[in-house]
Protein backbone atom coordinates (compact mmCIF):
# COMPACT_ATOMS: atom_id res chain seq x y z
CA UNK A 1 0.00 0.00 0.00
CA UNK A 2 1.51 3.28 -0.99
CA UNK A 3 1.74 6.22 1.35
CA UNK A 4 -0.03 8.67 -0.98
CA UNK A 5 -3.24 6.68 -0.71
CA UNK A 6 -2.71 6.42 3.01
CA UNK A 7 -2.38 10.20 3.42
CA UNK A 8 -5.37 10.79 1.16
CA UNK A 9 -7.57 8.46 3.16
CA UNK A 10 -6.30 9.98 6.39
CA UNK A 11 -7.41 13.38 5.13
CA UNK A 12 -10.77 11.95 4.04
CA UNK A 13 -11.20 10.55 7.51
CA UNK A 14 -10.25 13.89 8.97
CA UNK A 15 -12.86 15.58 6.79
CA UNK A 16 -15.58 13.13 7.89
CA UNK A 17 -14.49 13.80 11.45
CA UNK A 18 -14.97 17.55 10.92
CA UNK A 19 -18.52 17.02 9.64
CA UNK A 20 -19.25 14.76 12.61
CA UNK A 21 -17.84 17.36 14.98
CA UNK A 22 -20.13 20.08 13.61
CA UNK A 23 -23.08 17.77 14.28
CA UNK A 24 -21.89 16.45 17.60
CA UNK A 25 -21.01 19.84 19.08
CA UNK A 26 -24.61 21.07 19.04
CA UNK A 27 -25.94 17.70 20.12
CA UNK A 28 -23.60 17.37 23.06
CA UNK A 29 -24.33 20.91 24.32
CA UNK A 30 -28.06 20.31 24.14
CA UNK A 31 -27.69 17.03 25.98
CA UNK A 32 -25.30 18.47 28.47
CA UNK A 33 -27.28 21.54 29.43
CA UNK A 34 -30.89 20.55 29.07
CA UNK A 35 -30.62 16.77 29.37
CA UNK A 36 -32.65 16.55 26.17
CA UNK A 37 -32.45 13.69 23.69
CA UNK A 38 -32.93 15.46 20.38
CA UNK A 39 -33.27 12.99 17.51
CA UNK A 40 -34.37 15.86 15.28
CA UNK A 41 -30.81 17.21 15.22
CA UNK A 42 -30.35 15.13 12.06
CA UNK A 43 -33.29 16.98 10.54
CA UNK A 44 -31.52 20.29 11.18
CA UNK A 45 -28.58 18.90 9.18
CA UNK A 46 -30.98 18.15 6.33
CA UNK A 47 -32.81 21.49 6.59
CA UNK A 48 -29.49 23.30 6.52
CA UNK A 49 -28.61 21.52 3.29
CA UNK A 50 -31.95 22.34 1.65
CA UNK A 51 -32.32 25.90 2.92
CA UNK A 52 -28.65 26.71 2.31
CA UNK A 53 -28.79 24.97 -1.05
CA UNK A 54 -31.81 27.00 -2.12
CA UNK A 55 -30.18 30.23 -0.95
CA UNK A 56 -27.09 29.26 -2.91
CA UNK A 57 -29.08 28.67 -6.07
CA UNK A 58 -31.04 31.92 -5.62
CA UNK A 59 -27.96 34.08 -4.96
CA UNK A 60 -25.83 32.04 -7.35
CA UNK A 61 -23.05 31.91 -4.78
CA UNK A 62 -22.17 29.19 -2.32
CA UNK A 63 -20.44 31.66 -0.03
CA UNK A 64 -23.42 34.01 0.03
CA UNK A 65 -25.75 31.05 0.51
CA UNK A 66 -23.72 29.84 3.46
CA UNK A 67 -23.64 33.31 5.02
CA UNK A 68 -27.39 33.79 4.62
CA UNK A 69 -28.02 30.30 5.94
CA UNK A 70 -26.56 31.18 9.33
CA UNK A 71 -29.34 33.55 10.50
CA UNK A 72 -31.95 31.36 8.80
CA UNK A 73 -30.83 28.25 10.68
CA UNK A 74 -30.50 30.18 13.92
CA UNK A 75 -34.11 31.36 13.54
CA UNK A 76 -35.32 27.86 12.66
CA UNK A 77 -33.46 26.40 15.64
CA UNK A 78 -34.88 28.94 18.09
CA UNK A 79 -38.34 28.43 16.60
CA UNK A 80 -38.19 24.63 16.90
CA UNK A 81 -36.88 24.94 20.44
CA UNK A 82 -39.58 27.37 21.53
CA UNK A 83 -42.52 25.64 19.89
CA UNK A 84 -41.77 21.96 20.14
CA UNK A 85 -38.98 21.19 22.54
CA UNK A 86 -39.37 23.58 25.45
CA UNK A 87 -42.21 21.56 26.94
CA UNK A 88 -40.11 18.39 26.83
CA UNK A 89 -37.33 19.29 29.24
CA UNK A 90 -39.15 18.04 32.28
CA UNK A 91 -40.31 14.91 30.53
CA UNK A 92 -38.69 11.51 30.65
CA UNK A 93 -36.12 10.52 28.05
CA UNK A 94 -38.70 8.19 26.60
CA UNK A 95 -41.11 11.06 25.92
CA UNK A 96 -38.28 13.11 24.40
CA UNK A 97 -37.26 10.26 22.10
CA UNK A 98 -40.83 9.83 20.89
CA UNK A 99 -41.63 13.47 20.40
CA UNK A 100 -38.43 14.20 18.50
CA UNK A 101 -38.98 11.03 16.47
CA UNK A 102 -42.30 12.60 15.53
CA UNK A 103 -40.43 15.75 14.55
CA UNK A 104 -38.21 13.72 12.19
CA UNK A 105 -41.25 12.27 10.42
CA UNK A 106 -42.71 15.77 10.15
CA UNK A 107 -39.54 17.41 8.83
CA UNK A 108 -38.83 14.63 6.32
CA UNK A 109 -42.34 14.87 4.94
CA UNK A 110 -42.38 18.67 4.95
CA UNK A 111 -39.10 18.65 3.02
CA UNK A 112 -40.56 16.22 0.52
CA UNK A 113 -43.59 18.46 0.14
CA UNK A 114 -41.55 21.64 -0.40
CA UNK A 115 -38.56 20.44 -2.41
CA UNK A 116 -40.00 17.27 -3.94
CA UNK A 117 -38.74 13.71 -3.50
CA UNK A 118 -35.74 14.07 -5.80
CA UNK A 119 -33.53 16.17 -3.52
CA UNK A 120 -31.44 19.17 -4.44
CA UNK A 121 -28.12 19.35 -6.25
CA UNK A 122 -25.83 22.29 -5.51
CA UNK A 123 -22.98 22.84 -7.97
CA UNK A 124 -19.50 23.48 -6.67
CA UNK A 125 -18.39 27.01 -7.64
CA UNK A 126 -15.52 27.12 -10.08
CA UNK A 127 -13.01 28.75 -7.78
CA UNK A 128 -13.35 25.80 -5.37
CA UNK A 129 -12.77 23.16 -8.01
CA UNK A 130 -9.43 21.56 -8.68
CA UNK A 131 -6.81 20.19 -6.41
CA UNK A 132 -4.02 21.52 -4.27
CA UNK A 133 -0.55 20.06 -4.01
CA UNK A 134 0.34 19.26 -0.45
CA UNK A 135 3.94 18.40 -1.21
CA UNK A 136 5.67 15.02 -1.50
CA UNK A 137 3.62 14.25 -4.58
CA UNK A 138 0.28 14.38 -2.76
CA UNK A 139 -2.61 16.28 -4.29
CA UNK A 140 -5.94 16.70 -2.60
CA UNK A 141 -9.27 18.22 -3.77
CA UNK A 142 -9.36 21.92 -2.88
CA UNK A 143 -12.95 21.84 -1.65
CA UNK A 144 -12.16 19.11 0.90
CA UNK A 145 -9.27 21.21 2.17
CA UNK A 146 -11.72 24.11 2.52
CA UNK A 147 -14.08 21.89 4.52
CA UNK A 148 -11.29 20.90 6.88
CA UNK A 149 -10.16 24.51 7.33
CA UNK A 150 -13.70 25.77 7.95
CA UNK A 151 -14.28 22.97 10.44
CA UNK A 152 -11.08 23.73 12.32
CA UNK A 153 -11.94 27.45 12.40
CA UNK A 154 -15.41 26.68 13.74
CA UNK A 155 -13.92 24.37 16.35
CA UNK A 156 -11.49 27.10 17.38
CA UNK A 157 -14.29 29.66 17.50
CA UNK A 158 -16.44 27.35 19.57
CA UNK A 159 -13.57 26.68 21.92
CA UNK A 160 -13.00 30.39 22.42
CA UNK A 161 -16.72 30.97 22.86
CA UNK A 162 -17.09 28.22 25.46
CA UNK A 163 -13.79 28.66 27.26
CA UNK A 164 -13.16 32.41 27.11
CA UNK A 165 -16.46 34.31 27.10
CA UNK A 166 -19.06 35.02 29.73
CA UNK A 167 -21.65 33.25 27.59
CA UNK A 168 -19.42 30.17 27.49
CA UNK A 169 -18.98 30.29 31.23
CA UNK A 170 -22.75 30.23 31.67
CA UNK A 171 -23.02 27.34 29.22
CA UNK A 172 -20.44 25.37 31.16
CA UNK A 173 -22.14 26.21 34.42
CA UNK A 174 -25.44 25.04 32.98
CA UNK A 175 -23.87 21.82 31.74
CA UNK A 176 -22.34 20.84 35.06
CA UNK A 177 -25.22 21.90 37.30
CA UNK A 178 -28.34 23.31 35.72
CA UNK A 179 -30.29 23.84 38.92
CA UNK A 180 -27.47 25.63 40.70
CA UNK A 181 -26.78 27.85 37.68
CA UNK A 182 -30.47 28.76 37.57
CA UNK A 183 -30.50 29.49 41.28
CA UNK A 184 -27.55 31.86 40.81
CA UNK A 185 -29.60 33.93 38.40
CA UNK A 186 -28.73 32.53 34.98
CA UNK A 187 -31.73 32.74 32.69
CA UNK A 188 -31.64 29.09 31.66
CA UNK A 189 -34.50 29.17 29.08
CA UNK A 190 -32.91 32.04 27.12
CA UNK A 191 -29.48 30.45 27.44
CA UNK A 192 -30.82 27.24 26.08
CA UNK A 193 -32.62 28.88 23.17
CA UNK A 194 -29.31 30.47 22.19
CA UNK A 195 -27.39 27.23 22.55
CA UNK A 196 -29.99 25.38 20.53
CA UNK A 197 -29.82 28.05 17.83
CA UNK A 198 -26.04 27.72 17.68
CA UNK A 199 -26.38 23.94 17.49
CA UNK A 200 -28.84 24.34 14.61
CA UNK A 201 -26.43 26.63 12.75
CA UNK A 202 -23.57 24.15 13.18
CA UNK A 203 -25.72 21.23 12.03
CA UNK A 204 -27.01 23.25 9.08
CA UNK A 205 -23.48 24.28 8.16
CA UNK A 206 -22.39 20.64 8.20
CA UNK A 207 -25.33 19.76 5.96
CA UNK A 208 -24.68 22.55 3.48
CA UNK A 209 -20.96 22.00 3.37
CA UNK A 210 -21.21 18.42 2.10
CA UNK A 211 -24.09 19.13 -0.29
CA UNK A 212 -21.82 20.03 -3.25
CA UNK A 213 -20.22 16.60 -2.81
CA UNK A 214 -23.26 14.42 -2.10
CA UNK A 215 -26.31 16.65 -2.91
CA UNK A 216 -29.18 17.24 -0.48
CA UNK A 217 -31.54 14.32 0.06
CA UNK A 218 -34.44 13.56 2.36
CA UNK A 219 -33.33 11.69 5.46
CA UNK A 220 -29.67 12.56 4.78
CA UNK A 221 -29.19 13.58 8.40
CA UNK A 222 -30.14 10.29 9.96
CA UNK A 223 -26.99 8.29 9.33
CA UNK A 224 -24.91 11.27 10.39
CA UNK A 225 -27.07 11.63 13.49
CA UNK A 226 -26.37 8.09 14.62
CA UNK A 227 -22.66 8.54 13.99
CA UNK A 228 -22.86 11.77 15.99
CA UNK A 229 -24.47 9.81 18.82
CA UNK A 230 -21.54 7.42 18.76
CA UNK A 231 -19.22 10.41 18.84
CA UNK A 232 -20.76 12.06 21.87
CA UNK A 233 -21.02 8.78 23.73
CA UNK A 234 -17.33 8.17 23.12
CA UNK A 235 -16.40 11.76 23.91
CA UNK A 236 -18.54 12.10 27.01
CA UNK A 237 -21.93 13.79 26.90
CA UNK A 238 -21.75 17.54 27.42
CA UNK A 239 -18.07 17.90 26.54
CA UNK A 240 -17.21 19.89 23.40
CA UNK A 241 -13.57 18.90 23.71
CA UNK A 242 -14.61 15.25 23.96
CA UNK A 243 -16.82 15.68 20.90
CA UNK A 244 -13.89 17.09 18.92
CA UNK A 245 -11.47 14.30 19.80
CA UNK A 246 -14.08 11.57 19.39
CA UNK A 247 -15.33 12.98 16.07
CA UNK A 248 -11.85 12.95 14.53
CA UNK A 249 -11.18 9.50 16.00
CA UNK A 250 -14.47 8.14 14.63
CA UNK A 251 -14.05 9.76 11.22
CA UNK A 252 -10.50 8.51 10.75
CA UNK A 253 -11.10 5.00 12.05
CA UNK A 254 -14.23 4.60 9.92
CA UNK A 255 -12.57 5.83 6.73
CA UNK A 256 -9.31 3.96 7.29
CA UNK A 257 -11.23 0.79 8.13
CA UNK A 258 -13.22 0.98 4.94
CA UNK A 259 -10.11 1.51 2.81
CA UNK A 260 -7.51 -0.69 4.41
CA UNK A 261 -9.12 -3.31 6.62
CA UNK A 262 -9.28 -5.92 3.86
CA UNK A 263 -5.60 -5.34 3.13
CA UNK A 264 -4.77 -5.76 6.81
CA UNK A 265 -6.95 -8.86 7.06
CA UNK A 266 -5.05 -10.40 4.15
CA UNK A 267 -2.07 -10.66 6.46
CA UNK A 268 -3.97 -13.05 8.72
CA UNK A 269 -6.68 -14.62 6.59
CA UNK A 270 -6.92 -16.43 3.24
CA UNK A 271 -7.86 -14.10 0.37
CA UNK A 272 -11.53 -14.99 -0.03
CA UNK A 273 -12.20 -14.85 3.71
CA UNK A 274 -10.53 -11.45 3.96
CA UNK A 275 -12.50 -10.15 1.02
CA UNK A 276 -15.86 -11.05 2.52
CA UNK A 277 -15.00 -10.19 6.12
CA UNK A 278 -13.38 -6.85 5.26
CA UNK A 279 -16.46 -4.76 4.36
CA UNK A 280 -18.57 -6.34 7.10
CA UNK A 281 -16.00 -5.78 9.80
CA UNK A 282 -15.10 -2.27 8.65
CA UNK A 283 -18.73 -1.12 8.88
CA UNK A 284 -18.77 -2.42 12.46
CA UNK A 285 -15.44 -0.94 13.45
CA UNK A 286 -16.56 2.30 15.10
CA UNK A 287 -19.30 0.53 17.05
CA UNK A 288 -16.75 -1.94 18.35
CA UNK A 289 -14.58 1.03 19.28
CA UNK A 290 -17.51 2.58 21.11
CA UNK A 291 -18.33 -0.64 22.96
CA UNK A 292 -14.69 -1.03 23.91
CA UNK A 293 -14.37 2.51 25.24
CA UNK A 294 -17.63 2.28 27.14
CA UNK A 295 -16.59 -0.99 28.70
CA UNK A 296 -13.64 0.72 30.37
CA UNK A 297 -15.04 4.25 30.68
CA UNK A 298 -18.85 4.18 30.84
CA UNK A 299 -18.93 8.01 30.89
CA UNK A 300 -16.85 8.44 27.77
CA UNK A 301 -13.37 9.83 27.33
CA UNK A 302 -13.96 13.37 28.64
CA UNK A 303 -16.92 13.43 31.01
CA UNK A 304 -17.69 17.04 31.99
CA UNK A 305 -16.93 17.83 35.59
CA UNK A 306 -19.83 17.20 37.95
CA UNK A 307 -21.76 15.04 35.50
CA UNK A 308 -22.40 11.37 36.12
CA UNK A 309 -23.37 8.58 33.76
CA UNK A 310 -26.27 7.68 36.04
CA UNK A 311 -28.05 10.99 35.61
Amino acid sequence: MDYILLVEQLLNGFQLGIILFLMAAGLTLVFGIMDLVNLAHGSLFMIGAFVGGTLTLVTDSLVLGAVLMVPAMFAIGVLVETIALRTLYRRSHLDQVLATFGLILFFNEATRLIWGPAGLAVPLPEFLEGTVALGAGITYPLYRVVIIVIGLLVALGLYLLVAQTRFGMLVRAGASNRVMAGALGVNIPVLFSLVFGIGAVLAGLAGLIITPITQAAIGMGEDVLILAFVVIVIGGIGSVRGAFVAALLTGIIDTMGRSFLDVVLLLFLPANAAESAGPALSSMLIYILMAGILFFRPQGLFPPRGATAAS
Partner: protein
Protein backbone atom coordinates in the same frame (compact mmCIF):
# COMPACT_ATOMS: atom_id res chain seq x y z
CA UNK B 1 -52.78 -6.23 40.21
CA UNK B 2 -56.37 -7.25 40.78
CA UNK B 3 -58.64 -4.37 39.95
CA UNK B 4 -62.22 -3.77 38.94
CA UNK B 5 -63.29 -4.30 35.38
CA UNK B 6 -62.56 -1.19 33.37
CA UNK B 7 -63.18 -0.23 29.74
CA UNK B 8 -59.55 -1.25 29.18
CA UNK B 9 -60.41 -4.87 29.98
CA UNK B 10 -63.33 -4.77 27.59
CA UNK B 11 -61.14 -3.40 24.80
CA UNK B 12 -58.45 -6.01 25.43
CA UNK B 13 -60.98 -8.84 25.40
CA UNK B 14 -62.59 -7.47 22.24
CA UNK B 15 -59.21 -7.31 20.48
CA UNK B 16 -58.32 -10.88 21.42
CA UNK B 17 -61.71 -12.12 20.18
CA UNK B 18 -61.26 -10.09 16.99
CA UNK B 19 -57.79 -11.56 16.39
CA UNK B 20 -59.18 -15.04 16.98
CA UNK B 21 -62.05 -14.68 14.53
CA UNK B 22 -60.61 -12.53 11.72
CA UNK B 23 -59.88 -15.44 9.31
CA UNK B 24 -63.62 -16.15 9.37
CA UNK B 25 -64.86 -12.59 9.84
CA UNK B 26 -62.84 -11.01 7.02
CA UNK B 27 -64.18 -13.16 4.14
CA UNK B 28 -67.69 -12.69 5.52
CA UNK B 29 -67.19 -8.91 5.40
CA UNK B 30 -65.71 -9.30 1.93
CA UNK B 31 -62.42 -7.77 3.12
CA UNK B 32 -59.95 -10.69 2.87
CA UNK B 33 -57.10 -8.19 3.09
CA UNK B 34 -57.78 -7.83 6.82
CA UNK B 35 -56.36 -11.29 7.47
CA UNK B 36 -52.85 -10.23 6.47
CA UNK B 37 -53.28 -6.87 8.21
CA UNK B 38 -54.14 -8.56 11.48
CA UNK B 39 -51.39 -11.15 11.06
CA UNK B 40 -48.96 -8.20 10.77
CA UNK B 41 -50.55 -6.44 13.73
CA UNK B 42 -50.13 -9.54 15.89
CA UNK B 43 -46.47 -9.91 14.93
CA UNK B 44 -45.79 -6.27 15.81
CA UNK B 45 -47.71 -6.82 19.03
CA UNK B 46 -45.39 -9.70 19.95
CA UNK B 47 -42.37 -7.50 19.33
CA UNK B 48 -43.95 -4.65 21.28
CA UNK B 49 -44.72 -6.96 24.21
CA UNK B 50 -41.07 -8.00 24.30
CA UNK B 51 -40.05 -4.34 24.37
CA UNK B 52 -42.62 -3.60 27.05
CA UNK B 53 -40.99 -6.25 29.25
CA UNK B 54 -37.73 -4.32 29.44
CA UNK B 55 -38.91 -0.77 28.73
CA UNK B 56 -42.25 -0.69 30.52
CA UNK B 57 -41.45 -2.88 33.49
CA UNK B 58 -37.68 -2.56 33.65
CA UNK B 59 -37.13 1.05 32.55
CA UNK B 60 -34.58 -0.03 29.92
CA UNK B 61 -35.40 2.11 26.88
CA UNK B 62 -33.95 0.07 24.06
CA UNK B 63 -33.81 2.11 20.87
CA UNK B 64 -32.47 -0.83 18.91
CA UNK B 65 -35.02 -3.47 19.63
CA UNK B 66 -35.89 -4.08 15.97
CA UNK B 67 -32.46 -5.67 15.58
CA UNK B 68 -33.88 -8.91 16.98
CA UNK B 69 -36.67 -8.81 14.40
CA UNK B 70 -33.95 -8.74 11.79
CA UNK B 71 -31.88 -11.48 13.38
CA UNK B 72 -34.90 -13.76 13.76
CA UNK B 73 -35.88 -13.01 10.19
CA UNK B 74 -32.44 -13.50 8.69
CA UNK B 75 -32.12 -16.85 10.50
CA UNK B 76 -35.04 -18.01 8.33
CA UNK B 77 -33.82 -16.19 5.24
CA UNK B 78 -30.18 -17.25 5.27
CA UNK B 79 -30.83 -20.85 6.25
CA UNK B 80 -33.56 -21.02 3.60
CA UNK B 81 -31.07 -19.60 1.09
CA UNK B 82 -28.85 -22.60 1.86
CA UNK B 83 -31.83 -24.95 1.45
CA UNK B 84 -32.23 -25.56 5.18
CA UNK B 85 -35.97 -25.13 5.57
CA UNK B 86 -36.67 -27.29 8.61
CA UNK B 87 -38.17 -25.21 11.40
CA UNK B 88 -36.49 -27.55 13.89
CA UNK B 89 -33.16 -26.16 12.75
CA UNK B 90 -34.23 -22.57 11.93
CA UNK B 91 -36.09 -21.91 15.15
CA UNK B 92 -33.36 -22.99 17.60
CA UNK B 93 -30.78 -21.02 15.59
CA UNK B 94 -33.00 -17.92 15.53
CA UNK B 95 -33.58 -18.18 19.28
CA UNK B 96 -29.98 -19.01 20.10
CA UNK B 97 -28.62 -16.20 17.97
CA UNK B 98 -31.01 -13.64 19.45
CA UNK B 99 -30.16 -14.80 22.97
CA UNK B 100 -26.44 -14.55 22.26
CA UNK B 101 -26.65 -11.12 20.67
CA UNK B 102 -28.94 -9.84 23.44
CA UNK B 103 -26.51 -11.20 26.03
CA UNK B 104 -23.51 -9.47 24.48
CA UNK B 105 -25.39 -6.21 23.85
CA UNK B 106 -26.89 -6.40 27.34
CA UNK B 107 -23.51 -6.79 29.00
CA UNK B 108 -22.35 -3.63 27.21
CA UNK B 109 -25.54 -1.54 27.52
CA UNK B 110 -26.48 -2.36 31.09
CA UNK B 111 -23.30 -0.78 32.37
CA UNK B 112 -24.94 2.52 31.50
CA UNK B 113 -28.22 4.29 32.18
CA UNK B 114 -30.49 6.96 30.79
CA UNK B 115 -29.43 8.72 27.61
CA UNK B 116 -26.32 6.58 27.27
CA UNK B 117 -28.43 3.41 27.30
CA UNK B 118 -30.76 4.76 24.60
CA UNK B 119 -27.91 5.77 22.32
CA UNK B 120 -25.83 2.65 22.80
CA UNK B 121 -28.70 0.29 22.04
CA UNK B 122 -29.32 2.38 18.92
CA UNK B 123 -25.69 2.27 17.86
CA UNK B 124 -25.29 -1.46 18.44
CA UNK B 125 -28.45 -2.20 16.46
CA UNK B 126 -27.16 0.05 13.72
CA UNK B 127 -23.99 -2.04 13.64
CA UNK B 128 -25.98 -5.20 12.85
CA UNK B 129 -28.03 -3.22 10.34
CA UNK B 130 -24.89 -2.21 8.44
CA UNK B 131 -23.64 -5.78 8.68
CA UNK B 132 -26.79 -6.96 6.89
CA UNK B 133 -26.43 -4.17 4.30
CA UNK B 134 -22.86 -5.21 3.58
CA UNK B 135 -23.77 -8.91 3.17
CA UNK B 136 -23.76 -8.95 -0.61
CA UNK B 137 -24.22 -12.69 -0.78
CA UNK B 138 -27.55 -12.32 1.01
CA UNK B 139 -28.92 -9.52 -1.12
CA UNK B 140 -27.55 -6.45 0.71
CA UNK B 141 -30.21 -3.69 0.63
CA UNK B 142 -32.52 -5.68 -1.60
CA UNK B 143 -32.98 -8.42 0.95
CA UNK B 144 -33.71 -12.07 0.44
CA UNK B 145 -36.80 -13.80 -0.87
CA UNK B 146 -37.89 -16.85 1.09
CA UNK B 147 -39.13 -19.55 -1.24
CA UNK B 148 -40.32 -21.97 1.40
CA UNK B 149 -41.76 -21.14 4.77
CA UNK B 150 -40.28 -23.00 7.73
CA UNK B 151 -41.25 -26.68 7.65
CA UNK B 152 -42.27 -28.34 10.88
CA UNK B 153 -42.44 -31.69 9.11
CA UNK B 154 -45.84 -32.58 10.47
CA UNK B 155 -49.28 -32.35 8.95
CA UNK B 156 -50.49 -30.28 11.89
CA UNK B 157 -48.39 -27.13 11.45
CA UNK B 158 -48.11 -26.42 7.75
CA UNK B 159 -47.17 -22.75 7.48
CA UNK B 160 -47.76 -22.73 3.71
CA UNK B 161 -51.44 -22.82 4.63
CA UNK B 162 -52.50 -19.21 5.26
CA UNK B 163 -54.96 -20.02 8.02
CA UNK B 164 -52.44 -22.23 9.84
CA UNK B 165 -49.85 -19.44 9.52
CA UNK B 166 -52.35 -16.99 11.00
CA UNK B 167 -53.25 -19.16 13.96
CA UNK B 168 -49.61 -20.00 14.62
CA UNK B 169 -48.98 -16.27 15.02
CA UNK B 170 -52.09 -15.98 17.18
CA UNK B 171 -50.92 -18.84 19.41
CA UNK B 172 -47.48 -17.26 19.84
CA UNK B 173 -49.14 -13.94 20.68
CA UNK B 174 -51.28 -15.58 23.38
CA UNK B 175 -48.21 -17.37 24.71
CA UNK B 176 -46.27 -14.10 24.91
CA UNK B 177 -49.14 -12.30 26.64
CA UNK B 178 -49.33 -15.15 29.15
CA UNK B 179 -45.57 -15.20 29.69
CA UNK B 180 -45.49 -11.43 30.12
CA UNK B 181 -48.23 -11.63 32.75
CA UNK B 182 -46.59 -14.50 34.65
CA UNK B 183 -43.22 -12.79 34.53
CA UNK B 184 -44.47 -9.43 35.71
CA UNK B 185 -46.33 -10.77 38.72
CA UNK B 186 -43.53 -13.14 39.70
CA UNK B 187 -40.67 -12.38 42.05
CA UNK B 188 -38.52 -11.85 38.98
CA UNK B 189 -40.86 -9.17 37.68
CA UNK B 190 -41.08 -7.57 41.07
CA UNK B 191 -37.32 -7.18 41.24
CA UNK B 192 -37.35 -5.76 37.72
CA UNK B 193 -40.04 -3.21 38.51
CA UNK B 194 -38.43 -2.31 41.80
CA UNK B 195 -35.05 -1.76 40.14
CA UNK B 196 -36.74 0.63 37.72
CA UNK B 197 -38.00 2.85 40.50
CA UNK B 198 -34.98 2.63 42.78
CA UNK B 199 -32.11 0.44 41.75
CA UNK B 200 -29.81 1.43 44.58
CA UNK B 201 -32.35 0.52 47.21
CA UNK B 202 -33.01 -2.90 45.68
CA UNK B 203 -29.29 -3.56 45.59
CA UNK B 204 -29.01 -2.47 49.20
CA UNK B 205 -31.54 -5.16 50.15
CA UNK B 206 -29.07 -7.60 48.69
CA UNK B 207 -30.54 -8.39 45.29
CA UNK B 208 -28.09 -8.36 42.38
CA UNK B 209 -30.34 -6.39 40.01
CA UNK B 210 -27.81 -6.48 37.16
CA UNK B 211 -28.45 -10.20 36.64
CA UNK B 212 -32.19 -9.73 36.66
CA UNK B 213 -32.03 -6.89 34.20
CA UNK B 214 -29.68 -8.83 31.94
CA UNK B 215 -31.98 -11.88 32.05
CA UNK B 216 -34.97 -9.71 31.15
CA UNK B 217 -32.97 -8.12 28.31
CA UNK B 218 -32.17 -11.57 26.89
CA UNK B 219 -35.73 -12.86 27.26
CA UNK B 220 -37.05 -9.77 25.48
CA UNK B 221 -34.50 -10.25 22.69
CA UNK B 222 -35.55 -13.86 22.17
CA UNK B 223 -39.25 -12.96 22.18
CA UNK B 224 -38.67 -10.26 19.59
CA UNK B 225 -36.60 -12.73 17.57
CA UNK B 226 -39.65 -15.02 17.50
CA UNK B 227 -41.63 -12.13 16.04
CA UNK B 228 -38.91 -11.75 13.39
CA UNK B 229 -39.06 -15.48 12.65
CA UNK B 230 -42.83 -15.20 12.13
CA UNK B 231 -42.55 -11.99 10.09
CA UNK B 232 -40.02 -13.51 7.69
CA UNK B 233 -42.31 -16.50 7.23
CA UNK B 234 -45.43 -14.40 6.77
CA UNK B 235 -43.92 -11.98 4.23
CA UNK B 236 -41.62 -14.60 2.64
CA UNK B 237 -39.02 -11.85 2.60
CA UNK B 238 -36.29 -10.40 4.78
CA UNK B 239 -34.31 -7.22 4.27
CA UNK B 240 -32.14 -4.85 6.32
CA UNK B 241 -35.19 -2.59 6.52
CA UNK B 242 -36.61 -4.96 9.17
CA UNK B 243 -34.00 -3.61 11.57
CA UNK B 244 -33.85 -0.05 10.31
CA UNK B 245 -33.80 2.27 13.30
CA UNK B 246 -37.17 3.65 12.26
CA UNK B 247 -38.61 0.23 13.10
CA UNK B 248 -37.13 0.44 16.60
CA UNK B 249 -38.70 3.88 16.98
CA UNK B 250 -42.04 2.53 15.82
CA UNK B 251 -41.85 -0.29 18.36
CA UNK B 252 -41.32 2.21 21.16
CA UNK B 253 -44.13 4.28 19.73
CA UNK B 254 -46.59 1.38 19.68
CA UNK B 255 -45.77 0.46 23.23
CA UNK B 256 -46.22 4.02 24.46
CA UNK B 257 -49.32 4.56 22.33
CA UNK B 258 -51.01 1.55 23.88
CA UNK B 259 -49.72 2.22 27.36
CA UNK B 260 -46.36 1.21 28.78
CA UNK B 261 -46.21 -1.18 31.70
CA UNK B 262 -49.71 -2.47 31.02
CA UNK B 263 -50.27 -6.06 29.95
CA UNK B 264 -52.38 -5.32 26.89
CA UNK B 265 -50.90 -1.94 26.01
CA UNK B 266 -48.49 -3.28 23.36
CA UNK B 267 -51.31 -5.16 21.58
CA UNK B 268 -53.60 -2.12 21.67
CA UNK B 269 -50.73 0.09 20.51
CA UNK B 270 -49.90 -2.20 17.59
CA UNK B 271 -53.56 -2.22 16.50
CA UNK B 272 -53.90 1.56 16.74
CA UNK B 273 -50.55 2.22 15.04
CA UNK B 274 -51.01 -0.11 12.08
CA UNK B 275 -54.67 0.70 11.46
CA UNK B 276 -53.94 4.41 11.74
CA UNK B 277 -51.00 4.31 9.34
CA UNK B 278 -53.00 2.07 6.99
CA UNK B 279 -55.91 4.53 6.99
CA UNK B 280 -53.86 7.74 6.84
CA UNK B 281 -51.70 6.46 4.00
CA UNK B 282 -54.79 5.83 1.87
CA UNK B 283 -55.89 9.45 2.40
CA UNK B 284 -52.61 11.18 1.48
CA UNK B 285 -49.08 10.10 0.66
CA UNK B 286 -47.87 12.88 2.93
CA UNK B 287 -49.45 11.25 5.96
CA UNK B 288 -46.27 11.59 8.01
CA UNK B 289 -46.99 15.32 8.02
CA UNK B 290 -50.01 14.60 10.21
CA UNK B 291 -48.59 11.59 11.96
CA UNK B 292 -45.49 13.30 13.32
CA UNK B 293 -47.33 16.07 15.17
CA UNK B 294 -49.93 13.51 16.30
CA UNK B 295 -47.12 11.61 17.96
CA UNK B 296 -45.93 14.72 19.76
CA UNK B 297 -49.45 15.43 20.97
CA UNK B 298 -49.79 11.87 22.26
CA UNK B 299 -46.58 12.31 24.21
CA UNK B 300 -47.62 15.67 25.59
CA UNK B 301 -51.21 15.00 26.52
CA UNK B 302 -52.15 11.32 26.54
CA UNK B 303 -49.90 10.05 29.27
CA UNK B 304 -50.44 6.35 29.87
CA UNK B 305 -51.50 5.81 26.25
CA UNK B 306 -54.81 4.35 25.15
CA UNK B 307 -54.97 1.99 28.12
CA UNK B 308 -54.37 4.92 30.45
CA UNK B 309 -57.25 6.85 28.87
CA UNK B 310 -59.44 3.80 29.29
CA UNK B 311 -58.76 3.74 32.99
CA UNK B 312 -56.28 0.87 33.26
CA UNK B 313 -53.89 1.21 36.13
CA UNK B 314 -50.33 0.48 35.19
CA UNK B 315 -48.90 -2.49 37.00
CA UNK B 316 -46.02 -0.24 37.91
CA UNK B 317 -48.07 1.45 40.65
Amino acid sequence: MRSQLTPAHAVATLLIVLCATIPYLAPALDEPFYVIVFARIMIWAIAAISLNLIMGFGGMISFGHAVYLGIGGYAVGILGFHDVTSAWIQLPIAIGLCALVALVFGVICLRTRGIYFIMITLALAQMVFFLSVSAERYGSDDGLNILWRSEFGSGLIDLEDGVVMYYTIFAVLLGCLLLQWRMVVSRFGMVLRASQSNDTRVQAIGIPTYRYRLAAFVIAGVMCGLAGFLQANLERFVSPDMMNWHRSGELILMTVLGGTATLFGPLVGAVVFLLLSETLSTITIHWHLVFGPFLILVVLFARGGVMGLLGSRTTRD
